[in-house]
């Protein structure tokens, strides 16, 4: 991947506490436009909390989030979705009662705006809008190779495919930054390879900036341009995969040190 150095997102001195529990302590890092940024760390290190801060589900007590060169005011998740941040979840959060295509269509929700009146008639602008967004969704479905399950209710799909549908739904938002929370959790080697391929394809073809949390180190080191390591809510290391791998603090955190 070519060197890209314009910062699209920066978190500065984030502090997040739940009562007496300190989830994130004074963490700062940035994300370059177009890169794949990995966030790693042992369980409970605050990785998912960090993503929740970025997409507005948690409001940190202290710290700033800078996005597109501007300081972001405190916003609700649905407002942040509008700014172009999409995510997938650690435990799949698909809409179980809907089919694959309907799930992907939900990603276009924010781009549709025809009012109740047209929706009721489902005529003219409303149906044109529906068709136009359907086309984009079909492209994404094609891209992620889930055509054959287009009309299957997602609840009955195998785990690996559900993860892929969730990625499709996030992509349908045409996000500037895509947050992936453990996209490969619970997958076998083959599924992991597929998923890695899709993540690289998304990054290269759509130019989407990706921030991902992952526990499989081989995958992280192969995919990521740069890696942030968290431990107990603190920033342990930040750098290229090679730098992080040779960092003594990281090795200690993962392997443990004799006391």
């Amino acid at each position: 991947m070519s060197e890209k150095n314009s910062v699209i997102m920066e978190v500065k001195n984030i502090n997040l506490r739940f009562g007496g529990v300190i989830a994130i302590q004074d963490v700062s890092f940035n994300i370059f436009e177009g890169e794949i940024r990995a966030i790693i760390g042992p369980n409970g290190a605050g990785k998912s909390s960090m993503l929740n801060v970025i997409n507005g589900f948690y409001h940190p007590q202290e710290g700033e989030v800078w996005f597109n060169g501007e300081k972001r005011p405190s916003m609700e998740p649905y407002q942040i979705a509008k700014t172009g941040i999409a995510r997938t979840f650690q435990n799949i959060a698909l809409f179980k009662g809907m089919t694959t295509i309907e799930n992907v269509m939900t990603g276009r929700q924010l781009k549709m705006n025809k009012n109740f009146f047209w929706q009721m008639l489902r005529y003219g602008p409303a149906i044109d809008e529906e068709v136009q967004h359907r086309r984009r969704c079909e492209e994404i479905i094609d891209f992620l190779e889930i055509n054959h399950i287009r009309k299957t209710p997602v609840g009955s799909l195998p785990y690996g495919l559900q993860k892929r549908v969730e990625l499709a739904r996030a992509l349908a938002m045409d996000p500037k930054i895509l947050l992936l929370d453990e996209p490969m959790a619970g997958m076998n080697v083959e599924e992991k390879q597929d998923m890695s391929r899709f993540i690289i394809d998304v990054n290269e073809e759509f130019g989407t900036t990706i921030a991902l949390i992952e526990h499989d180190m081989a995958v992280v080191m192969d995919l990521a341009d740069r890696v942030v390591v968290l431990d107990y809510g603190k920033l342990l290391a930040d750098g290229t995969p090679a730098e992080v791998q040779s960092n003594q603090a990281v090795i200690d955190a993962y392997l443990g040190v004799p006391h």
């Binding site: 649905y78 929700q109 025809k114 929706q119 529906e130």
Partner: protein, 362 residues
């Protein structure tokens, strides 16, 4: 064999997004419409008197289908449970009555639609708790709405124009020189009006459900956190569901009084009725328009038919038959829910699936 999508190719998304993409469905709906608009008015239901067919079966079933559609939008599509349906029908009925008193010359259909809009606003207000609470707690909040509104129907005498009976009553209303509502109206006229409204409302509901707004309801129902992170504002989605659902329920309430019963008191809108409508939705199938039709028809028609058959064929006492029909309906509900917990709509879907292959096993 009889119901196959094979060979029906679509080359445009628009064709696929149509209400009935399959030719079989189009034919089926056309047949149903012809039966409803031509055969039943001409021949009635065989073995039953015409008056009974209209007054005790067709008109109430159509009205309750509108109620069930409304409740199904809220419960089946938006996942917000409500036990205030009876009272919301009351809001529709009383507000229609008031609108007719204030504007005596206004067309009754417009009155009915306006009363639906009033109910939508009331429903939105009582839907506000849903922004904070879910599930069982929301049931309690809507139950509070039910009791509050019932209280208002008795205590606020302005609602029934301070009359002595404490109830509301329809007067003769004309439209295009035809008496369409009130004591002197013809059952057939009212049948056509209610049927047309039902067809229209069903069409509108199916449109909304398949579009952006319907999807936002289903998103909130299935996974509210993910919905919010995709950009659905819970406030808008939940309140619009309450409003749209209450609109239907209000219309059905107004229709019930002015196109069927002719007069009503607060008892017609009590909590027992709320439970009956909930039954209709659950028996029919949550999140299904077809199911709303089947649920309303089954729950209403079975007791009525049992009572009628017991009375005319066996000469039983009406009181005995009343109890017997309640027992029978209870048993029927339990059996149906054990056989198919997802309601009649799912049974119909399975039947369709079987019809695709029949007479071959696979």
């Amino acid at each position: 064999m009889f119901y196959r999508e094979t060979g029906q190719f679509k080359s445009k998304y628009k064709e696929e997004l149509a209400a009935f993409p399959l030719a079989e469905d189009k034919v089926g709906i056309a047949i149903l419409l012809v039966i409803a608009y031509v055969f039943i008015p001409l021949f009635g239901i065989p073995g039953l008197s015409f008056e009974f067919t209209m007054g005790a079966i067709m008109i109430p079933v159509f009205i309750f289908t509108i109620t069930t559609l409304g409740l199904n939008i809220l419960l089946g599509f938006a996942g917000q449970i409500s036990l205030g349906t009876g009272a919301f029908m009351g809001v529709g009925a009383y507000s229609c009555y008031k609108i007719m008193t204030i504007f005596p010359d206004l067309n009754i259909i417009i009155c009915v639609i306006l009363s639906g809009l009033v109910t939508a606003i009331v429903g939105m207000i009582f839907g506000l708790p849903s922004l904070k609470i879910k599930g069982f707690y929301l049931i309690v909040a809507t139950l509070a709405a039910q009791f509050f509104l019932e209280w208002a129907f008795i205590r606020v005498a302005w609602l029934y124009n301070y009359n002595d009976s404490g109830g509301i009553e329809g007067t003769n209303k004309e439209m295009f020189g035809l008496i369409v509502s009130g004591p002197q109206s013809d059952a057939l006229t009212r049948y056509f009006i209610v049927l047309t409204l039902l067809v229209l409302l069903t069409w509108l509901a199916s449109n909304v459900i398949r579009g952006r707004i319907g999807r936002s309801w289903m998103m909130i129902r299935d996974m509210d956190i993910a919905a919010e992170l995709i950009g659905v504002r819970p406030l808008t989605a939940k309140l619009s569901a309450f409003a749209f659902s209450s609109f239907y329920i209000g219309i059905s309430g107004a229709l019930m009084v002015f196109f069927w019963l002719g007069a009503a008191e607060v008892e017609s809108f009590d909590v027992n009725h709320s439970f009956t409508y909930l039954f209709m939705v659950i028996i029919g199938g949550l999140g299904s328009i077809t199911g709303s039709y089947m649920g309303a028809a089954l729950v209403w028609v079975i007791p009525v038919l049992i009572k009628e058959i017991g009375k005319t064929a066996f000469g039983f006492d009406a009181f005995v038959m009343e109890n017997f029909s309640i027992i029978f309906l209870g048993v029927a509900i339990v059996v149906i829910l054990i056989v198919e917990p997802h309601g009649l709509a799912r049974l119909w879907q399975i039947t369709k699936q079987k019809l695709r292959l029949w007479p071959f096993p696979y």
